[in-house]
Structure formats: structure tokens, C-alpha cells
Amino acid sequence: MAPLSWDGMTTLRVLAAMSGGVDSAVAAARAAAAGHDVTGVHLALSSNPSSYRTGARGCCTLEDARDARRAADVIGIPFYVWDMAERFHSDVVEDFVDEYARGHTPNPCLRCNEKIKFAAVLDRAVALGFDAVCTGHHARLESVPGAPGRTRLVRSVDAAKDQSYVLAVLRSDQLSRAMFPLGDTTKERVRKEAADRGLGVADKPDSHDVCFIPDGDTRAFLERRLGSAPGPIVDADGAVLGAHDGTFGFTIGQRKGLGIERPAPDGRPRFVLSIEPVSRTVTVGPADALGVLEIEAARPVWSGCLPPTGPLDCLVQLRAHGEVHAAVCEQADDVVRISLREPARGIAPGQAAVFYDGDAVLGSATISGSAR
């Protein structure tokens, strides 16, 4: 896709993705208030809306479609529902299940941004004559200093709501056609603005869980999809401590729900250290065994800088809402080797490693392995 240069463009034709929540409603309203030609679209992610989340939260219900429509009415923009159910199912839901089956811990929101919102939806929007896709993500876009026309992703001013991590998978050509009007605003102010603009979703609760798992029970959802696949829970020496119904019920660093009756001899809590899906083995051990210094991550995307040709000093974030770690990264072929200055815990394959320079995103890659 051709990147878009906004230089000299004052009025863009903007497709606003409207989930029915407060953020995307205010984002669309701001885009319209800025003078852009805005069209609202609600993405129907399930062909049978009631089969996903029921209730006010999330992104898939009839009620959400109605809330989005009402917000579009109040803003005064055209509104349509786009059926993205098939793409969402194959690219996000099936990917989520497959990743767990492989012993990984996927991030479906990231995948949805990568494959749906800024791929399928953006491509369709561009083909239909739109210049950009606007969402309510909490992140900023700014020009790369010294590189005119290049856009990079920057954390939101609201650190608690920052969503740059789940957007960092986007390429610069995708970012050049993205519009995040909320990045300079705290969530609290977004809600107040929604009320001031007469948007009925001002007080709607935030969504938290995975939108296609209505009851929030990921393990039960995966068991329905993958069936029971029992295996052993062992310690680092291979001694069997317990059993489980499927490795998909675990993520590295997990402490709760291990179902081991015997406490560790030293009385310290146990954590999941590794997941081996072929032998269905879950290895547990003490917290200090979780720490890793070396991480490998695949399929890098460098949106905020050129692909590094040598060691790159940067910050790296290794899970959503996780802390940042000082690191040196080096890319060889399609793999980034990340050397952390201090050990980090709970590093799960499948999660994204996102590289930052201060608050600015340099790029991202998918964690494939780690070592102490």
C-alpha cells in the first residue's frame, strides 16, 4: 500500500472505526470537528452477534452496534456496518487458538490491529476512496525528526491507557494512513468530552477481556476448541508434580491455577517456566528461575527507524502493560536478538517485543524464545 503524505492536505476522507465504546466515538467526533470528511463504520466481528460477548462491554454485540450508530447520529456522520466476521474468525480467533496450541501466548488485540483494522479494513477503505482510518486507540503519531513525511508511533500521554504496544506491529505505510485523535488526552478527559458532546456512551464501562470470549474464561474457551490434552506438570529436574488438561491453560510466569497439591520443599511459590506442547509438558519452578536475559524475536517491523545494521541501544516492552527494560538489540536475517541489561520475568513466546526510544516506538517483533 502506498504511504500517504498529509502535507498540504487539510480535509481527508476518513473512515472512523466505531466499536460502540467511548474512545472511538470521541475519536470520530474529533476527526469530524477537525474538518475531515468522516464516515463511521462498525465492524461486525461475528456473523452471529449473540455468540460472542453479551452485555455492554466489548466489541461484538448488537448493543454495541447500536451505540456506535447513535454516536454517529450525534456526530452527524454517515454510518455503516462492515461484516468482518470471516476475516476476524480466520485471522484472529483461529490464530489465537493455534498459538495456544503451540504453547505460545498470543495477543489477539494486536493481531486484530495487524490483520483486521489496519489491513483488511484499511485496504478496503483505501480502495473505496478513503485516505485514512481513524480509531480510538490511545497512542500518538508524529513525524520522525529528520525524516519528513515519515510517521512514527508514540505512547499516549495517559500512560495507564497507552496502547502503543498493541499498535507497534503496524508498518510505517499503515501508520501513515492511521489517525489516533486521542493520544494527547487522558481517558478521564475523553469521558468528559464525550459527555460534553452529547455522546451517550460517555459512561460506558471500558472493555477489558478478549472480545470473543464472552465469559472471560479463556481456558474453557480453548478447551472447547482444542479438547482435553492431558499432560504432566514437572519441576526443573523432571519430577512429576501434577497433571493438567491441556498446555493451552498455561502461560509463562503464571502462578495461579497450577493445581499442584504439594507445596515446594522450600515453601516458595512456583511459576510456569516453560510449556512444551508436543510432549504436553508444563515445567514449573521458583520465581528466580523465570528471569531471562536473552530473547529471540522474529518477523521484526521497524516503523520508527531504519532496520538497525548494528547493535541498537533501546528500551523494550515484552507484554501489554508490562514494564520496560533497557536492552541491546541486534538483527540478523529475520530474527532480533535482545540482550537485556537486567533479567526480566514471565517472557512468553507469542507476545510482542516492542522497541522504544523514550516514548517513541522504533519497531516490534514476535518473541520466539528466551534464555537465562
Partner: protein, 412 residues
Amino acid sequence: MSNARDASGHDRIQEPEAKVAPASPVYLDHAATTPLLPAALAAMTAELAQLGNPSSLHNAGRRARRVVEESRELIAEAYGARPSEVVFTSGGTEADNLAVKGLYWARRAAEPARRRVLASATEHHAVLDSVRWLSEHEDAQADWLAVEPDGVVTAATLAAAIEADPATVALISIMWANNEVGSVQPIAELAALAAEHHIPFHSDAVQAAGQLPVNLAETGATALTITAHKIGGPVGVGALLLAKGTQPVPVLHGGGQERDVRSGTLDVPAIRAFAAAVQVATERREDEGKRVAALRDDLIAQVQAAVPDAVLNGTPPGPGRLPGNAHFSFPGCEGDALLMLLDARGIACSTGSACTAGVAQPSHVLLAMAADEARARGSLRFSLGHSSEQADVDALGAVIGEVVERARRAAR
């Protein structure tokens, strides 16, 4: 109309306007609803200022009753019915429900062996889902009548379905003209077949009523559904034309206002406006039919010139097709993308399909006409009516080529 909002974000009531103007400058969706005729608007607003429940015995009630009965007579005359054969309802959906469920229940009560309901596969959802409901909850057996690729149910198809076991048929329901593709059914022939076997015959004539000579007595049908807002009357009122001596089991119970078949206080302003619209539409029907058909033919020509591979669905233009209907499949396009692009250019049309949360499902009508799913999804209905002009057709002709090209790129 200005769009002033109060604190809650709702539009404030504005001064009335004499003319009903569609929101889109080019309105090609008359089959969804057609602008209120000035005569209907005047009748309705005049009556809204009046007092009286037509069931009341005092003077105010008598005045309201008189309005209702005069309206009933006008409507009856227009559609070849006696006044007592007009049962007012809240619209087409209610009339269809009353006909399908009510006639089935009545027939089954009289002869318990009669459980088969024969209906065309291209019925409007008001009939389709009523029949489905009967089959799921009331022991009915739904026998869907196949249509030809042009959407028509042949007499041979109906005859074969009846003759499979004539004694078990409770009801036949076949629409007069299809709301999506405009195909007109051979209603007189089909109704005659039903009459031979003494089977109640219902036809949803909602789309036909404003455009074709719909006549209860001449067809010999048991029941016909009509509704006001498709012919220039208000939304929220319709009628079941119900042949004398037919007593369906009620769906709505209550005061029994309409022949003890339908209960509910009659909506006098809407009924008066309905009659006004029927009167105008009937007077102008032949001239308007020719005028609108000529516009439609030009629309078809312009679309096919701009998009040579566009497929016209339904019967060919002529007496077998609603004069205001043009329905195309645009290969390689998604209907909803076409609709959005046209909407952005001020042109209103329809994908003609049922919606769940606004998600377009492939049309059951086109699927029944042996279209594949892609063709069904890539289709649009343009429907003309009393306010349509040559400029509307030209506006579509000017952009349809570019719009289809763009939608094709988006579908790749």
C-alpha cells in the same frame, strides 16, 4: 430542516414543512418507503387535530367512525373489495401475520389434517418467518414453492405441490410482486388453482398495490395484504383485504374493533391519510405506471451502458415486472460497498437484503432464483416512484460506472 439539538442530543421539534423531502437528493428506494403524497399529508395533519375514538358512541366518536368508514369505502373500492372486507392493521407485517397464522389456525381447527402451508421461497420475511414459526411451533409443514430463475412461481409448480396431497393443505401464500426483484406472479392463475381445491389463498400485495391493478374480487383470493407507506401514505397503517366469510383466528386480542379479527383502537389520522393516498395512487396508476416504467427502462439502459456485465435480475421489463423496479447483480462487487459509495454521492438505494445488526446476509430471494452467494451479495435494488424524475436516473447513470469500478477494486 435545521438540526438543532437539545441538551440530550435529540432533535428539537421544528416548524412543519409542507413538502416531504427525502434526505438524499436522489432517492431510488421507493420500494422501502415512498414520500408521503401531499394529499395524504394534508389529510393526516387535519385529522390529527381532531378528537374521537371511532368505537365511542358519542358525537366525537361518531365523527371519527365516519372518517374511518369513508376511508374504508374508498380503499375497498380501489381494490375490488366490499367495505366489510377491509381489515385495518398496523401495516404489512401485521396483515401478513394475521393472514398466515390466522388462516392456518382457523383451517387446522376445522380440519386437523390440514397442516401443509405452501408458500413461495421468495416471500417477504413477514410471510416467510410466520410460516417458519408455524412449522416450528404449531405443527405446520412448510412446503416452499420453487421459483423459476426469473423469480416466478408457475401454476405447474403450485399444482404439483397441491396435488401431492390436496387434503392436507391448510393455506397457500404467494406474494403478488416481489419486493426485491420486482417479478410479478401470475396471481389470478395461482388463486384459481387454490379455489379449485377450496384452499385459502393469501397474497402479500404490498409492493403491487400502488403500481398494478390489485383486485380482491377479480382474483378470487381469500386475503390480500396492502400497506399505506408504499403508495404515498403514512407508515404504521395497512390492511388485510379479507374475503367475506373468512374468519381467521386473531393474532391480537382485545376490543375486537375490526370484524372481531383484529383488535386495537383505530388510528384515524393514519387511516384517513391511507385512503387519501389510495385515491391519488389509483387515479394516477395507469399514467404513473407508464411514466415510471419509461424512467426505469432508461435506468436499466444507462446502468447497462456504464456496466456492460451488470445482470438484471427478475422478469424482463413489461407487464411481468413492477414498473418501478430495477435490480442488478454487479459481478465482483459487494452490494454494501456499492450502497455506501452511492450514498456518499447522494444516491439512495438498497441491497434489498435482511439485516442483522446491519450485516447484510445474501438475499434469500436471489438464492432461491438459483443465484450463487457472490451474485446475491453483489446486488442492488433501484426502485422508482411518484417523485422520481429523469434527473434521478441521469444522476445514477453518471456515477454508476465509476462506483462499480471502485467497489470492484475494494473487493479484490
